[in-house]
Symmetry: C2
Subunit: 354 residues, 2 copies
């Protein structure tokens, strides 16, 4: 929610690209950017019968990762898992410490798909239960990766950028703009840093508590964060397993998130090179003709933008035709343009357009 609130102003601040370019080319016009004739022509009171539908912010809020939802699912998963495997602890074989702790540890090791094999199900029931728990656990990890993890990292990313720019005099919009273009990179760095910390902490802890040499400890850590889990080196002490419960979940999610970010970074890099290419590329006459949506013989600013966006692959012709249909519905007087008078009378607009 907080993140949304912070993002919104930057978007609305940049909503008018014309003003932006005007600012660059003619700084004097900055504060007196020409008002559209729309409002001047139709000075109607604000109460004009339009039912106020929810603002985009609230829809984004609804779509935004619900951190608490993930926490509840995780608690439910671990709760049910612990109860099941605690009750069925006699149908498990391997290195055992404390009943409840072993059950939680087994759940985490299964959920993160580490699967050391130091504690394994030995009956048909526990085996099938383990199968069910690994699939559910994978889905849950997916949910964490898609929602909570990214949300947390993004928040940390904003803090990082703010900290980096604190001594430079930049306005909040500038920070958010900088964050926008390099968002994935910042997130990547954040996760990589965290991953390093987790590897170092893990190696030191395992070496001391599980009494391994440094190579074995590092090998155990690597085999865990990659969810490999050969199981020849694992957590066999009570203290080790308490640590493992928290450390395994954090580190496996962290490493998976890192790979996701690298993939995202790669996609973005490609997209950027495509954008660059599309922008430097000269438009041909045939394309100019194609770009002329209203068929008036000229390509206006917004037609040019749409054409380039299509070339960049950001939008598809389907997107355009969907919105165009809506436009035809709204354009009551069939002039090919919308004026304020058309939007204030939406009641009759559904039929005549069709």
């Amino acid at each position: 929610m907080d993140g949304d609130g912070a993002k919104q102003p930057s978007v609305s601040g940049l909503l008018d690209p014309t003003t932006q370019t005007n600012q660059k080319k003619n700084p004097k016009r900055r504060c007196c950017c020409p008002k559209s004739a729309l409002l001047a022509d139709n000075v109607l009171p604000d109460i004009n019968g339009i039912v106020q539908l929810p603002h985009p912010e609230s829809i984004f809020g609804k779509l935004h990762p619900s951190f608490y939802q993930v926490a509840v699912y995780l608690a439910a998963y671990l709760g049910v898992g612990t109860i099941c495997f605690y009750l069925l602890r006699h149908q498990m074989k391997g290195k055992k410490t404390n009943g409840v702790l072993d059950a939680v540890y087994f759940c985490i090791v299964t959920m993160a798909t580490v699967g050391y094999g130091d504690l394994v199900p030995s009956s048909v029931l526990t085996k099938l239960l383990a199968c069910a728990f690994v699939f559910t656990g994978m889905a849950l990890v997916g949910l964490i990766l898609s929602k909570a993890a990214d949300y947390l990292v993004e928040k940390q990313g904003i803090l990082l950028v703010k900290a980096l720019l604190i001594h430079q005099e930049v306005c909040p919009t500038e920070i958010l703009k900088k964050l926008g273009t390099n968002k994935v990179r910042y997130k990547c760095v954040m996760v990589l840093l965290l991953l390093f910390v987790l590897i170092i902490v893990g190696t030191i802890f395992v070496a001391f508590v599980e009494e391994m040499n440094v190579v074995d400890s590092f090998y155990c850590v690597c085999s865990t964060i990659t969810t490999l889990g050969y199981g020849d080196k694992s957590f066999s002490t009570q203290a080790g397993r308490v640590f493992a419960v928290f450390w395994i979940l954090t580190s496996t999610i962290c490493s998976a998130q890192f790979f996701l970010y690298v993939a995202e970074l790669n996609t973005e890099r490609k997209r950027r090179s495509l954008v660059k290419w599309v922008l430097t590329r000269r438009i041909t006459k045939v394309e100019l003709q194609e770009a002329d949506i209203d068929r008036d013989g000229f390509v206006g600013k917004s037609e040019f933008i749409l054409h380039k966006l299509k070339e960049m692959g950001k939008i598809s012709p389907e997107d355009i035709s969907l919105i165009l249909e809506k436009f035809q519905d709204l354009d009551v007087d069939q002039t090919g343009t919308l004026s304020a008078s058309e939007i204030v009378a939406p009641a009759q607009s559904s039929e005549p357009g069709k």
Copy 2:
């Protein structure tokens, strides 16, 4: 490559949304859609000094998943891995069969992060080598998931849609349109089907060759495709390991791809509900004013489209301002529109706009 070729016509066929809507409203105008005045006004020969830059198709081709690149990487990874672990086979402990086979099997089990632990490194060198191989392997699996897997599934998806629609009289464009809107769903179904087949084949094979009962066999299969790999049940025979080499790689990638598609499906579902909401939402006067990019007092078709696209979150204000800058460069006569005469004289266009 083939996929690109097939996609291109659909895009160019739909490139003109105006023609499309015209077709709906006035079927008679179908074949004689009004030609833009651009070409009629400026009947210039094609050889007009414009250096022909690569067509979008070729850039997409360049960006398109290179299937061969992945195959080469995979071969290199398995080649190097096999040689290393074959030479160091005396520094490995566990169930051994054939030297080379065990090395390949170990590579695959490590790369897919299954890590049964039935064959583990026992020296410092092999342990560190295993760490290096699991990280490289994860990156390689990521590459396969991002490139080859999706490419193959998409091709199969097209075949599936074609097969489903073979008895209905639909034109190829219709098929591709249908595929476009439900692409992720088809891919999801394809992967799920393949996953079921792999689970069944795996369970039957393991039961027979490794001489397990059905539950143990299913448990082994589940613990493998989820990359859990407890290791209490694994491939210990020569025949089993030959099968495992192919089956593990396919099934783990398949299950990971399935999770990726489910995530994609989820994102798309959300995006669609947002699109629907944006389209049904009434435009306010303030927004109408914001949408008026060229500040002429009216919102044209393309301005309306851009406004709605921004609301849908498909494009950002930065995208628009980037392209607008390019437009100002091209718009030599500063009329706010582009005509064919402006694009044929691009040599002088870089300075006057600025």
